[in-house]
């Protein structure tokens, strides 16, 4: 079972998929601010790369998983990462 996935469409028109939950505290990155191919967590100031999932600054210390995205005939296909998800304290995959 995978944790929720957030799918992003940038202003440049590229599509990306990350684990939706910030690694610092339970918050949905889908509600975050997308700019320069990064998403800023809506709660605190960590931003995550839309391509690799790496984090730039605290309070989050660990990146999120990035998933492979293919757009075919207008459909977004996501191939899940096989890495273990990195979830914040107290959040478990249902």
């Amino acid at each position: 079972m995978s944790p929720p996935i957030a799918v992003f469409l940038t202003e440049e028109g590229t599509v990306h998929a990350l684990d939706d939950t910030c690694t610092h505290q339970d918050a949905s990155l889908a509600a975050g601010w997308v700019e320069d191919c990064r998403v800023e967590c809506p709660l605190h100031e960590s931003t995550f790369s839309l391509t690799t999932g790496e984090v730039d600054q605290p309070p989050a210390k660990r990146g999120v998983r990035a998933h492979q995205v293919t757009v075919r005939d207008g459909e977004v296909l996501v191939e899940l990462s096989t890495a273990a998800p990195k979830l914040p304290p107290g959040v478990e995959v249902a």
Binding site: D20, Q25, D26, G32
Partner: protein, 388 residues
């Protein structure tokens, strides 16, 4: 001729009464004014171009409410009560800023610039919380004359605010008249050359009453009366039903502190508006003064029965502001008028609680139009116990 009006036989007595002194001092009356007048009517709060880019916000106070006014990314200018829907902390804790979201500093409830709740710690595990329902409470917004106007009550969404067209625009055009249209001044296209903020230790009604009459002009406004000699007769621009353009003196070149020339005239004013000063009151808290080359726009914010903040903008053509032309003599004239007026109001306020003013004071014929303001005021707040 203005002087003719003084010769016209007056019906009734020369003196009309003012409200009793208690109207200017009583905290309960003041609360009723906040609730029934300032929170129910449209208030001009900010120049729209003071929020230039998305995410820029300022906090303002209308009645008893603090309000966030923000330029959004997608929905123009929006305004919200500055109260977190979670536990009530102020969401914005400074006078202005720029941010991607509006986030409460207590538990990080986070609102989009468009108002809805977008994030909160553990919100994902509370799927029953409707993010729109728990968004910031919105306040009605209109843009007119380049200003942002707010109406606090009723809450946006629950029912309609008073019609802006009927309560603000019609009142202004009725007062300004068809020919001497306010539109000619193009106020929405002007830029702020200077803003001054005055903390006045007086009731807001004393400030309105003062602004509405010119019986005091020859006594306390020497510079203004030099520029507009007819003010010595005591009749204000707004003393009659239709506004009267008060003429500059023959030797006066412009509406400046020394009567020297101002800057280039606003391009669309009518011939009849040249070399004239006009003033109107837009209830409950705006005064607009127009002269050929600039517009002076006052906004009042009552703080208590005995304290009012007044912000005054001097608006000029954009090129005047961009080229940084010297407008200091233009600004100085009405800045002095403001200081002279506010000092008179501050010297009047303490007497409002004197026995001598238990039954109020008097309005002379050139002030009789102020009685209409008093009637309007009394209608808004309803009956109150007179006396002390």
């Amino acid at each position: 001729m203005i002087i003719d009006q003084l010769d016209t036989p007056l019906t009734g007595t020369s003196l009309k009464p003012t409200p009793a002194g208690v109207a200017y001092t009583d905290p309960e009356i003041f609360i009723r004014e906040q609730a029934e007048i300032f929170e129910k009517m449209w208030n001009a709060v900010l120049r729209a171009d003071s929020l230039a880019s998305p995410g820029q916000w300022r906090t303002v106070t209308v009645g008893r409410e603090e309000i966030i006014v923000v330029r959004t990314r997608k929905a123009g200018i929006k305004a919200y009560l500055n109260v977190c829907r979670h536990r009530g902390m102020r969401v914005c804790t400074t006078a202005e800023g720029r941010s991607k979201t509006l986030q409460c500093g207590y538990h990080a409830w986070t609102y989009a610039l468009e108002g809805e709740l977008v994030a909160a710690p553990n919100l994902t595990s509370m799927p029953d919380v409707d993010r729109g329902e728990h968004g910031l409470k919105t306040v009605h917004v209109r843009e007119w004359l380049g200003y942002i106007w707010l109406c606090v009550s009723p809450a946006a969404g629950s029912s309609a605010p008073p019609s802006f067209e009927e309560t603000v625009m019609t009142e202004v055009s009725t007062r300004f008249g068809e020919v001497q249209s306010l539109e000619n001044y193009g106020i929405e296209k002007l830029r702020v050359g200077q803003t001054r903020r005055y903390e006045v230790a007086a009731n807001w009604k004393l400030i309105i009453e003062n602004f509405m009459e010119c019986y005091h002009c020859a006594t306390i406004h020497p510079e203004l009366t030099e520029v507009i000699p007819e003010f010595a007769q005591g009749w204000a621009s707004q003393a009659q039903d239709e506004i009267h353009g008060a003429s500059f003196g023959a030797q006066v070149e412009g509406f400046t502190v020394d009567g020297s020339a101002g800057v280039a005239a606003l391009p669309a004013i009518a011939e009849a508006q040249d070399r004239k000063y006009y003033a109107i009151t837009v209830r409950p808290q705006v005064f607009i003064n127009t002269v050929p080359d600039h517009v002076i726009f006052h906004r009042m914010y009552p703080v208590s029965a005995a304290k009012t903040i007044v912000e005054c903008d001097w608006l000029f053509l954009p090129e005047v502001v961009e080229k940084q032309l010297d407008v200091s003599r233009s600004v100085e004239l009405f800045h002095r008028v403001n200081l002279q007026d506010f000092e008179a109001c501050e010297q009047t306020q303490p007497s409002m609680s004197s026995k001598a003013y238990d039954d109020g004071g008097a309005l002379v014929p050139s002030e009789h139009h102020i009685a209409e303001f008093h009637q309007w005021w009394a209608q808004q707040i309803g009956p109150f116990a007179r006396g002390r």
